[in-house]
């Protein structure tokens, strides 16, 4: 018959985690910046969705909204959001080699090659989008 596992009781000390734990080390700081980037990307998307909703209210309403977006505050926000979006995307694509196993027959494609292809694909796709919307 299976014996129940013994339970031992003894005093232990649980150390509190300081709120500034992520400032202690550059790696944790960068991680938190990546997490923070989601906030800026989410706000950008909300602004974008609001802009889309204004399209149904006519050209004047949308034009006024576009004018508001040209203000200094919004421009600064978009620059910061863009930097965060690029950083987040970079961290996303650069781990692709670790995440995705690619085999060609018996050969396993090296992680570096997968990451390089993913990053190149990201740059090309971004360039295509930029070209389509700015030509």
């Amino acid at each position: 018959m299976k014996q129940p596992e013994p339970e031992y009781t003894y005093p232990t000390y649980h150390r509190p985690i300081p709120a500034t734990w992520w400032l202690r080390d550059r790696k944790y700081f960068l991680f938190m910046m990546r997490e923070l980037s989601s906030f800026f990307i989410a706000v950008f998307l909300l602004i974008y969705l609001y802009g889309l909703s204004l399209l149904s209210k006519g050209q004047a309403a949308y034009g006024q909204f576009q004018e508001t977006l040209r203000s200094g505050g919004f421009t600064l926000f978009f620059v910061v959001a863009f930097i965060f979006a690029v950083y987040h995307s970079w961290t996303w694509w650069s781990i692709m080699g670790k995440v995705q196993v690619v085999r060609l027959g018996d050969h396993k494609v090296p992680e570096r090659v997968i990451t390089a292809v993913a990053l190149a694909g990201w740059v090309v796709a971004s360039a295509v989008v930029l070209f389509v919307f700015t030509r």
Partner: protein, 248 residues
Amino acid sequence: MSAKKITMRVTRYRPEQEDAPTEQAYELEFPDDWVVLDALNYIKDDVDGTLTFRWSCRMGICGSCGMMVNGEPKLTCAAFLRDYYPAEIRVEPLQYFPIIRDLVIDMTDFLHKLKAITPWIVRDEEKPLAEGEYLQTPAQLADYKQFSMCINCMLCYSACPVYGHEPEFIGPAAIALAHRYNLDSRDEGQEARQQVIASSEGIWDCTLVGECTEVCPKRVDPAMAIQRTKVATTTEWAKSMLMPWGKQ
């Protein structure tokens, strides 16, 4: 012994005499080939016999001597004093774990998590011994070998702020080990393990800090194991939604 002198600041916690951990400084001379564990053993043997810490093999195999060395989770048997000299060295118990005494942490939570992922080969039906071993090709071995190198040192848990903030997270080593057995061609226990690692306390708690991989002394790369498990789990889920008839 060389003339090099170094100061070690070591966490002390003696629950019978203090409510919270304190720090004790020891100054010692050390030869060039000493690691932090050698220094701790020297203190224990010749300076202060009350200092308590875990250790065993002294060669990076047993995973017993993990501690925080200057804020980094390290195997103290592989942390050379000369690499820190002439600065002071702060030695603390692995962070995010409760302290039992001095540098000894309570690993009960980790052991429960380890057991929960069924870290052994599971067969639907064992074949009789007379039929011999379960054979495996070198390529099949290579699929999981990296993830089988884990020595349960818990450095990855100590580097993981997710585990620190959400102690219910199953954690890097346990998920890496689950991945190891899931990749093993002899194993048939993936579905049972999936209940644990695909739960809310499993892979989806991981936000890919990546430090588990950085501190792993055996290059197991738990972060990779977790991300690959996420991909595999999502793929399986998508398949089951699109082709519900495909699975028995």
